[in-house]
């Protein structure tokens, strides 16, 4: 095994560059090193100006998502040895504006996420004294998969529809809306329907399915969106056949 591996990192300084370029670094190739370790090596030992986001190093904070050799990956869970011999090209997540080097602007996603109302909505809150809302293991199982999302945005980088149409709500926001829709304690499905059934919501999705493929937490956003299409269609027919029912 070679002792080093070549890292090609996309650099972009908004104050100097008109467009990004690749910079090459030689980093030690260690069996236990992930791409994030290599980036930290560069930052600590070679070039302190390299900017990237990271926090937990254990696949739960969702901040170190980047493109590794063209694929969206959590860099804390992507081992260098899987790419050796050869080079490892690290670029910022696709489909997001690049602020600097490997840092992208996720404002758009945060706005979409809050519009999907990813929290428990009750028609009437129960007084605290009456205790918590109970749930059976089956009821938990109905939404647990969708609750594993860590907002790492790999699914947005994998989704061509989001790249083409920035108005599209996107995989994670819809999967998280569905996480609350499926929750037995939640009563906000009707409020979310108006937002999700909008043409920029679920209908832009053409089931490319790559969001599910790249998801490090096996959330299956593609499945969530298709299932929600069925729900929205059922609701549409109900509102057509029984307009007096209202909401």
């Amino acid at each position: 095994m070679a002792e080093t591996i070549t890292l090609e990192v996309q650099r972009y300084n908004p104050e100097k560059d008109t467009e990004p370029g690749l910079q090459t670094y030689e980093v030690p190739l260690k069996k236990e090193w992930v791409v994030l370790d290599a980036l930290n090596y560069v930052k600590d030992k070679v070039d302190g100006s390299l900017s990237f986001r990271w926090s937990c190093r254990m696949g739960i904070c969702g901040s170190c998502g980047m493109m590794v050799n063209g694929e969206p990956k959590l860099t804390c869970a992507t081992f260098l040895t899987d790419y050796a011999p050869g080079t490892v090209r690290v670029e910022p997540l696709k489909h997001f504006p690049v602020l600097r080097d490997l840092v992208v602007d996720i404002t758009d996603f945060l706005a979409k996420l809050s519009r999907a109302k990813p929290w428990l909505i009750r028609k009437q809150e129960k007084p605290l004294a009456e205790g918590e809302y109970l749930q059976t293991p089956e009821q938990l199982d109905a939404f647990k998969q969708f609750s594993m999302c860590i907002n790492c945005l790999l699914c947005y980088a994998a989704c061509p529809v989001y790249g083409l149409d920035p108005l599209f709500s996107g995989p994670a926001a819809i999967a998280l809306a569905q996480r609350y829709n499926m929750d037995s304690r939640d009563q906000g499905a009707a409020q979310r329907l108006d937002i999700l059934s909008h043409s920029d919501g679920i209908w832009g999705c053409t089931f490319v399915g790559e969001c599910t493929e790249v998801c490090p937490k096996h959330v299956d956003p593609a499945g969530a969106i298709q299932q929600y299409k069925l729900t929205a269609t059922t609701e549409w027919f109900k509102s057509m056949l029984m307009p007096w029912r209202g909401e």
């Binding site: 908004p14 467009e19 504006p97 602020l99 089956e138 109905a142 399915g209 298709q226 299932q227």
Partner: protein, 135 residues
């Protein structure tokens, strides 16, 4: 001279290439799956023309049969069959993702949805073939 820092910073935005679907095999497979819709429309059109020829009498129908035997039509239908098989397989394989069927609180395994779909496909195909070939 120090360059002032602007806020918000000048972000670099990329545009998705028109040929994005050529960039990876999953994307190409996706666009081929979507293009199968042309084969769907194509063969419905052929069926409508066939019904029209049937309606106009034996002479017209014979001419239509001649047209179906031309190399161009054979090639076109061979391509259509390839895309329609691709459509059917992808459609049935993706069905369990789009339908979350739960029985007694447990989500049924994907095979419980895929397998009946394939059985229905086989049964429908055999039935159509039986009706057309029994004479």
């Amino acid at each position: 001279m120090a360059i002032p820092t602007y806020y918000p910073p000048r972000a670099y935005r990329t545009r998705v290439s028109t040929y994005w679907w050529l960039r990876s095999w999953p994307y190409l497979r996706f666009i081929l799956r979507e293009l199968s819709s042309i084969s769907v429309a194509w063969f419905v059109l052929v069926t409508l023309l066939q019904l029209g020829a049937l309606h106009r009498g034996p002479a017209e129908y014979a001419r239509f049969g001649e047209w179906l035997r031309s190399p161009l039509m054979i090639a076109g239908n061979a391509v259509a069959l390839f895309f329609l098989l691709f459509h059917a397989i992808t459609w049935f394989n993706l069905a369990p993702k789009a339908m979350a069927v739960r029985i007694r609180g447990k989500r049924v395994p994907p095979l419980f949805i895929t397998v009946p779909n394939y059985i229905a496909w086989l049964a429908a195909s055999l039935f159509v073939a039986f009706v057309l070939l029994r004479g």
